[in-house]
Amino acid sequence: MSDFIRFLGENLQEFLTYTGFANATSGHLVMILIGLVFIFLAIRFEFEPMLLIPIGFGMLIGNIPFKEVGLQLGIYEQGSVLNILYQGVMQGWYPPLIFLGIGAMTDFSALISNPKLMLIGAAAQIGIFGAYAIALQMGFDPSQAAAIGIIGGADGPTAIFLSSKLAPNLMGAIAVSAYSYMALVPVIQAPIMRLLTTKKERVIRMKAPRVVSSTEKIIFPIAGLLLTTFVVPSGLPLLGMLFFGNLLKESGVTRRLAETARGPLIDTITILLGLTVGASTQATQFLTVDSIKIFGLGALSFVIATMAGILFVKVFNLFLSKENKINPLIGNAGVSAVPDSARISQVVGLEYDPKNYLLMHAMGPNVAGVIGSAVAAGILLGFLG
């Protein structure tokens, strides 16, 4: 009997060594706390809830402490369920599928009706290269600096895609940083917009966009694909899927495919992407000095991108006739955080002129930003991949 009790005691002791309590470190607790903050921000303030809830909960999953004895639990353990799901991030095939869905849900009419707005989307990409240069100064090598700089494109899938190719070891920090700042677009961009514009500029009313014919909408994805990928073939995975999704939407004859791409498919991939990116932030891998630097550089790249977009519009206006002037408040939308940054243009614009609706105008540079950041990622991949 005593042997049996001793046996049970030893088993219980052994079991206790496997519990989260026995294996918890301060790092785990910090990451769990960050995960809870993400979930709180998503529910309380509705900051990108579709992303922050999966990522936040993924952080909880990824930071439950356990004894690493080959039970295939952790995301970095070969063959574990999370590891299998994480392959879509590691191999970079989730982001193009997300782009397929984005293409199938994006209306490029604003851009087609006023093509010069595309240049704002190009100007905002300066944030990527500004952060790249600063990251080099901070001691990152060129491929790591490029992967960090892409955070300034404000495009989560693009950031994941590029970092999976150029700096897989930094991907967790880059992805979390990119999505965090995308959620914080209202907090980051609005003060910069007010700072860089005059009261007179903020009330500029833009000409109503013309109506775009369905033929033009069909031509757009085809011409867009050919023109962009012939120059930057390395952007093909993202741009190809983006324009393909858009053709499914605009062709008018593939309604079911378009609905699947912008509905169940993108939802499924978003769940898997968010959850696994969150789970990849295991404290042992994530809490490093580099991660802190990446967060700092991410914020900086967002600021530079926003400033570049707004200042570009101000300069551009010098060359435009009075009736064609662009409200600089849509300059921030050149970063591709769709549609949040366009929404910020609308909100700030209404503060100064309650009848000036900038949303439709801001959607032009906003979707151009999606194309621009994918092109920028292609260039970086071509140069450094």
Partner: protein, 276 residues
């Protein structure tokens, strides 16, 4: 999976050899000795069981690789390592001879007949822990490796040439930034110009003659209600400007066949109103 053919053994060759092993690769017994790597350059599984290894041309059958060992079947484009420690009793991959660490060595690999030479190599005198191997697996050129690669391919990349060039020539990132921004602007400018000109051309091509030029009507205007005129005007506007999207809605009309039965009869499903 394809199996062994004697002819394919001829595509097996010496790939990398380390003679003077001081601090390098250890065997299953935690011992260091000279090691010899063979590479199956074919795209089939090759069984080298029954072939011979030797370091003496006068004794080509010095060590017969035992038959029947599953590990002597080398997978396509893969490698096996033999230890030249003079202790064949330690296992099938331990040779019964050793190599001379002070002089040159020549190794021979013979076919199962013990006569047909498949491959041979002369290894120069090298410092300890340097290996001598083919620069690319199975290829003709040999070189000295400071980073040895037993049981795996010889050519590995430990740096990215493009990244190194950028790190060397553009440490501040100015060149990259300027060129990349220029490309992004060019691409979007190209797209922008294309759509500007396309829109102009498209509108020109699709502008229809004004309706007033082609429509002649005898209906007096005062006889048509205002709403009808507004509706017609809106339709003409839409048609002239080609703004009517292709509708997404699809109506499917399908005939439903339903066999009559008292159970499905509507009349029995209705409650009769009570008569007062």
């Amino acid at each position: 999976m394809s199996t062994t053919l004697s002819a394919q053994v001829t595509r097996t060759c010496f790939n990398e050899i380390l003679v003077n092993n001081k601090t390098n690769f250890i065997d299953d017994y935690a011992q260091r000795s000279s090691w010899i790597e063979l590479f199956n350059a074919s795209f089939n599984v090759v069984d080298i069981g029954g072939c011979f290894l030797s370091n003496d041309p006068n004794n080509p059958t010095m060590y017969m690789i035992p038959k029947g060992d599953v590990l002597t079947k080398i997978q396509k484009r893969q490698h096996v390592v033999f230890f030249a420690d003079g202790h064949a009793s330690k296992g099938n991959f331990h040779l019964n001879f050793t190599l001379d660490t002070a002089g040159t060595n020549t190794l021979y690999f013979y076919n199962t007949d013990g006569k047909t030479l498949i491959d041979s190599v002369t290894i120069p005198v090298l410092e300890a822990d340097l290996s001598y191997g083919r620069l690319i697996d199975g290829e003709a050129n040999w070189g000295v490796f400071t980073r040895v690669t037993p049981s795996t391919n010889n050519l590995t990349l430990d740096s990215n040439e493009k990244v190194d060039k950028f790190a060397l020539n553009d440490p501040d990132g100015v060149g990259m930034s300027l060129s990349a921004v220029a490309v992004v602007f060019s691409v979007l400018l190209l797209l922008s110009l294309f759509f500007y000109w396309f829109a102009v051309a498209f509108r020109k091509a699709t502008t229809k003659p004004k309706m007033r030029d082609v429509v002649h009507s005898n209906i007096p205007a005062e006889g048509i209600p205002g709403e009808v005129i507004a509706a017609i005007s809106a339709a003409i506007y839409e048609m002239e400007n080609d703004v009517h999207d292709i509708e997404n809605t699809i109506i499917t009309i399908e005939r439903t066949r339903r066999t009559y039965s008292p159970w499905s009869s509507k009349i029995y499903g209705l409650r009769k109103l009570p008569r007062k």
